[in-house]
């Protein structure tokens, strides 16, 4: 497996975010959140830089990253798909929907499609329980989703690609 090397500008970005929060250990959650929002994910080397900047051990940073399901060490796709598995969505078949997405995309939870277009993950409640089961694609919320809608939903992003390419 390749050893990830961070580019200097990425290191700069991480250091700036840490500095923004005063390099305070107490701000570690905010720092990690912002770094992930900026870089997309938190690979090991990113955690090493954060640890050094906040004067914490890498083991502790990894402990935090592995504890919260919000944090990911896997790169996300261009269009990250999140299937809600909160109580209401579960009751309305969120788990079956997740299986359908896995099958359709041929990808495991937490992983990215080989073309980097979609990644699949789960989350716990987006606060739209009346629309259960809920799917979020790149922040756009789809309600009352059924498995047979999946191809049409994903096709939206094909068109998007075409528009971007033309």
């Amino acid at each position: 497996m390749p050893v990830i090397k961070l580019s200097d500008d990425k290191v700069r970005i991480i250091k700036d975010i840490c500095a923004e929060y005063g390099n305070q250990e107490a701000e570690v959650l905010n720092v990690l959140r912002k770094v992930q929002n900026t870089l997309g994910y938190l690979p090991a080397e990113v955690q090493e830089v954060v640890a050094a900047e906040l004067h914490m051990s890498v083991a502790k940073i990894y402990g935090i990253v592995s504890f919260y399901s919000f944090f990911t060490m896997q790169p996300k796709g261009k269009h990250p798909i999140d299937i809600c598995l909160g109580a209401a969505c579960m009751a309305k078949g969120g788990d079956k929907l997740l299986e359908a997405f896995k099958k359709h995309l041929n990808v495991e939870v937490g992983k990215c499609t080989p073309d980097g277009k979609f990644s699949l993950s789960t989350l716990r409640c987006v606060g739209s329980c009346s629309l259960a089961p809920v799917v979020s694609i790149g922040g756009k919320i789809y309600g009352k989703v059924t498995a047979d809608q999946i191809p049409a939903m994903l096709a939206e992003y094909d068109e998007y690609e075409d528009v971007m390419q033309s």
């Binding site: 050893v3 090493e48 914490m56 051990s57 890498v58 083991a59 592995s66």
Partner: protein, 588 residues
Amino acid sequence: MINLTIDNKPVQVPEGTTVLKAARQIGIHIPTLCYYELDGMKLENKPAGCRVCMVEIKGQKRLMAACATECKEGMEVHTNSLRAVNARRTVVELMLSDHPSDCLTCSKSGDCDLQRLSQAMGIREIPFPGEHSHHRKDISPAIIRDMDKCIMCRRCETVCNEFQTVGALHAINRGFNAVVAPAFEQDLVDSPCTFCGQCVMACPVGALNTVSHTRQVMSAINNPKKTVIVQTAPAVRVALGEEFGMQPGEVVTGKMVAALRRLGFDYVFDTDFAADLTIMEEGTELLDRISRHMAGDKSVRLPILTSCCPGWVNFFEYNFPDMLDVPSSAKSPQQMFGSIAKSYWAEKMGLKREDIVCVSIMPCVAKKYECGRDEFKVDGNPDVDFSISTRGLARLIKQYGITLSELPEEDFDRPLGESTGAGVIFGSTGGVIEAAVRTAYELYTKKSLDRVEFSQLRGIEGIREATVDFDGLPVHIGIAHGLGNARRLLEKVRSGKVQFHAIEVMACPGGCVGGAGQPFHHGNSDIIRKRQEAIYKEDRGKALRKSHENPDIIKLYNEYLGEPCGHKAHELLHTHYFDKSDKTVIEI
């Protein structure tokens, strides 16, 4: 002061005292598991996570964890109400439901806190069958992590992060998958781990343990082609007896020597001899640096740091790569011994180094790592082949049916078994530097010391400072034990806030007497203090108490080495250090 009752007994305690400690004060011992304290050494783990110490407090709906609940005025605590006892039992049963039931073959059997609790509670079956959590076993050169046995007490995490400030271990994941591991679940050997082993000392179960070399040693002993020699570190002789029911601090030097002979070692030597040798080299280096410094040589790095402790060496290689030229280049006594045994002694005996198997008995876990370092090998043959802990030696003695207490007192073999009191005190915090001062003072002033004991260098405080008068030259000395204390002292030195001529560091609390290879003290720091007292007692009983007066050391220099810190001495007795700050290789 706060007044309360525990099990109807009135007790008065200062504000901030926990229910657990208040109860202990009146002889009520509430069972604990995750709680771990090394009294007087600023080490305490009380995450209130295991819930074994739960008690009932009148007026409180829920049961409270005694380790984390502070006493309040008028509190009425019941430690053994049926509700508390049943809850505690359930907690232990639940823990056992995700714990391998392999006590018969577990390395911690007999010393396991969970096993003891289960026995005390009379648990005969586990009423919660279900899934067990599984984790990859990680075997490093010194420490084995068998995390299927982890109960998430997080003692190791507290020791590694807060006390040692090493930061190799932390709790990861959540719920059923939660476990303590290095970052990214790397192998320990790729983490910042120093192999000090204090996590092993703290682990209440068999999740963390040490690598054992006893089988290899016994097969070497039974190989007629090999000459198997053994060296024993000073701290072993003041702790070994504990494994055989003797009181902490009972000195068993002579019996230990006798036991080693009965185990079949061809020659029983003493690491104390090599400790005297270390002083000759380190003391000379100290004097050389001080006199060059006084002569205005700006290239001299002061303070000189001791380098006997392999956990400490690993620590500064990782954390202070900018100061690699500051520590003494002298090898540790273990390695000096191996080097001399396989050169000087081998030549004397007409033996080839490949035919000698050099074994060390150490109070230490990091020594297992140290003896495997590449720079301590000649053409792939290590100077020290195997390192066995105090506990490992005790196991061997028991396995061979030897009754330690009934053995006669025997003497070490010569010449590598002759030592002075200065070598003995290496086993305690402050001892290495006191031994160095005894020799450096006399070499520098050309005067004989009236008193060889330097009480200002002794004690159990984590960081100590003292000034010794070298006949008009004040020599400033710093001492730290525990790697967190060492870090604090070193950071002060690096920032220029304090100035010392010499600093002694030992990685373990109390020094080697509190080493991670010693009998488990279960957090009782009195045991460490008693071992420390025993070390100084052993020193007082020695005819010779200054390293440079050891006749066999003098002979070694005359016959073989030449001058301390001379060419040959450098070749055999000195080493160099590596920048390991970048050693973490991340592959995902």
